[in-house]
Symmetry: C2
Subunit: 330 residues, 2 copies
């Protein structure tokens, strides 16, 4: 195995988050899937945007957010994802590069526009996401720089992007490239509906040993295993993946690695402002420790600290000096 040029390379949605605070009642009024992520078409995106309170725009995307966290923590990162040649695409690319992430996938001409996620944040800080994938759903396998993928220690993939056909094919190819190069493959399940639609794929990948590090939350684990009981579900998957990380919101997180098991409590937060990015930053914190060879418990704690930082403000990416925060809180 040659030296790594990047610590982590990710393939994910290239989207801009449009984030608004809203009253609880608006969620029902617009028939939104409270706390979840729903894929929507452009007409529904326009309809929801018309009904949305004033908003702020911040670059998002699950894997892209995780990379932003990793980059802030000092890791070398690269991103592959599809934006359109438009203003929001330029915003997304700027924010990736300004965070120190290499992102060279060419913009796609014509329609559809760069993807966007309309996020309604209720007074309890819970986010309800409505995603128009836009250009992102047309990420072609040809956009993969295979040398780049082979040069990264970890290939990180997001389940959200498993839904559209072209990116799914690209990600399958990327897994082959990474494994041939002897790299680790990390996968985040992203959302239960993805597992409902593609659970057979995921279970086969797990059984075939294609996934080295798997991130799930409680409901994704339940959907993946068909087990409502957390412990039963966790113990069913743990023997099949070298590293399993299960986040449990306010209840903290559990991980297993090669038979070892560790838990962490959630890190304290003065006030939950916006839970957008909590899982993404947990993954960033965890992987930043994993890439440095830290023990499982330290990796979990780093995840909890990163998640606590991001839910204390609007937006899915860290705003604090994360290296200093880790040094202070660990």
């Amino acid at each position: 195995m040659t030296d790594t040029r990047y610590d982590v390379i990710a393939i994910g949605n290239a989207v801009v988050d449009v984030i608004a605070s809203c009253e609880e009642g608006l969620i029902d009024e617009l028939s939104l899937n409270r706390g979840g992520m729903t894929l929507i078409d452009e007409a529904r995106a326009d309809e929801l945007y018309d009904a949305m309170p004033p908003a702020r725009e911040l670059s998002g995307g699950s894997a892209a957010n995780t990379l932003a966290g990793l980059s802030t923590l000092g890791l070398q990162c690269a991103f592959i994802g599809q934006v359109a040649d438009d203003q929001l695409g330029k915003v997304f690319r700027h924010d990736m590069r300004a965070t120190g992430i290499d992102f060279d996938t060419p913009a796609r001409d014509g329609e559809p526009a760069t993807g966007r996620v309309l996020i309604f944040v209720t007074p309890d800080g819970e986010r309800t996401m409505n995603t128009f994938l836009g250009a992102g759903q047309f990420l072609p396998a040809e956009a993969l720089d295979e040398d780049l993928i082979a040069s990264a220690g970890i290939l990180y993939l997001e389940g959200y992007l498993w839904d559209p056909e072209e990116p799914r094919r690209a990600m399958r190819r990327a897994i082959e490239v990474a494994r041939e190069a002897g790299r680790k493959v990390a996968f985040t399940a992203s959302e239960s509906f993805v597992i409902e639609r593609h659970g057979d794929d995921f279970r086969a990948m797990i059984d075939d040993g294609l996934i080295d590090i798997l991130f799930v939350n409680e409901s994704e684990l339940a959907t993946l295993t068909g087990e409502d009981d957390f412990e039963t579900g966790f113990n069913a998957v743990a023997p099949k993946v070298p590293v399993l990380v299960a986040t449990r919101s306010a209840k903290g997180a559990v991980a297993s690695a090669h038979g070892e098991r560790a838990v962490t409590a959630a890190a304290p937060v003065a006030k939950v402002v916006d839970t957008t990015g909590a899982g993404d930053q947990f993954a960033a914190g965890f992987l930043s420790g994993y890439a440095k060879g830290e023990g499982l418990e330290v990796c979990l704690k780093r995840g909890a600290i990163a998640a606590a930082e991001v839910i204390a403000h609007y937006g899915p990416r860290p705003e604090a000096d994360m290296k200093a925060l880790m040094a202070e809180r660990l």
Copy 2:
């Protein structure tokens, strides 16, 4: 005089703010005008954006921000300004309408794009603004809905927009329309450089009695009057305008109206995060009282409370429930 359809109608820049936190050193490195507003062309905007840390986008524009504050405080508002037919133009229009402001100026086809302001916020919370006016500089006098202007109790104009020729002509026409309809004309000087370039215009308008309510800060007052001493400058202008409001940052504000004079201290702020919009929201708080016939001191206090709210978070428009905040703090 007929009944008013709107409390306030404003003509102003239609721009999206691109706001990033940055280290102190970057201001010098990029040769920025610390704490000020600098007009830039598109090439310089691209150059500065490339050098900018990750950012968030929020709708801005001085008069538009003031309207957002007024609307949140329950006043009926309409806006006239020029966006392009692009994504940022749609963001700006959405945020105005979602705040309850009528904004029907048609988007302009082709180049340039919707204006944007690159805002670098240093650790002390001070904002350094770099404005590419974009489509905004081409607001034509023909875009004015004269019936609309005649129907509003107050016409509010921003000095920033006095610089480009077409909007200046539009604003001169709007003043005529408002005065013919017996309405009040409010004007914010915006920034010293505007007065350096157009001070003769402004002094003539003041002398001709075209301005009923004038908002200035200390340095604008000094540039307008040529007097470095605040009291001397204030007393030189006060007899010439029915209402004069001078903001003094942390030192509070002073106002005079028809010979009466009042002062207010700055309202307390736990931590200054981003001073963007401080003057705009001061004007909103003040005018919200003025429109209701409140006394001068109450108007000033309302201005101070609104300014304190906006500098405690990123972005130039209120995020709190402003009616509740006024009820609580007055």
